[in-house]
Amino acid sequence: MSADLPVWAACLVVGLALAGAAVSFVGALGLVRLSHFYERVHAPSLCATLGLFLVVAASSLFFSVAEGRVVLRDGLIALFVIVTTPVTLLLLGRAAAYRDRAEGHPGAPPEP
């Protein structure tokens, strides 16, 4: 199946996929490198936005070319991740804020 791809498409697909994977990797690296929770919380967004876009684009391109028609269903994944990930992060941020405040943590956020 993969054999049906022309070289340009293969290059493009691989380029997009690698770029996406790299961005995600950087995001994951941020999860490790950044120093505390409120900083770390920004890192996974890389995976969930640009990393995701690029990989989804690669996938869409791959299957569009392979199947000879426009395949956009992977875009749905991107859409849903975009909508749902913030819910998690937002709740997590809020939860962390409560917990830090309750414990009198020095880095606790101020009341709004």
Binding site: L29, H42, A48, L50, R69, L76, P86, L90, P112
Partner: protein, 164 residues
């Protein structure tokens, strides 16, 4: 009109779901088209019991502008945060909380803003007080921009237009 509203309480949602169905079941055939129509008509009725505030989008143009802006900002902040993670950002970096006074009060508008801010790397929606309209935001790089001003300038106006 009222009858249409009862039949199609959430037209935008109906459209979205039908589109979703078509995307999932591509390539489009008459059969899937018919099913998509059914999905668009029937599934939103499932919301009837939950009684959410109906979603009305007022300014389609503003929506497009906003989408473009968000896309650009997301890419930009991806790069910015990536640099921070990789240690490529020169100089001292401070992260911290900022308060942003918001004029938006609609549920949809706030939700859209929360999604935008939280999706974009570098900003995190932490807490919003509907009484005062104040938003507590965590920012990875405080020096990158004047965050309250930037948010109000780039998003709030458009959002107020879209979701009055």
């Amino acid at each position: 009109m009222r009858r249409l509203a009862r039949l199609l309480p959430h037209p935008l949602l109906s459209f979205g779901l039908a589109l979703m169905w078509l995307l999932l079941n591509a390539p489009v055939t008459p059969g899937t088209g018919l099913l998509a129509l059914a999905v668009g008509l029937l599934v939103p009725l499932s919301l009837r019991a939950l009684r959410p505030e109906p979603l009305r989008v007022r300014a389609p143009r503003a929506l497009l502008v906003l989408a473009g802006r968000v896309a650009a900002d997301v890419v930009q902040s991806n790069i910015a945060v990536g640099r921070v993670i990789l240690g490529l950002r020169p100089g001292e970096r401070r992260s911290g909380f900022v308060h942003v006074p918001l004029a938006i009060t609609s549920r949809a508008g706030l939700t859209a803003l929360a999604i935008i801010l939280t999706s974009a790397p570098g900003t995190l929606w932490v807490q919003h007080d509907p009484r005062t309209g104040r938003l507590l935001l965590h920012v990875l790089d405080l020096d990158e921009a004047d965050w309250p001003a930037r948010i109000k300038a780039r998003y709030e106006g458009l959002l107020l237009e879209i979701f009055p």
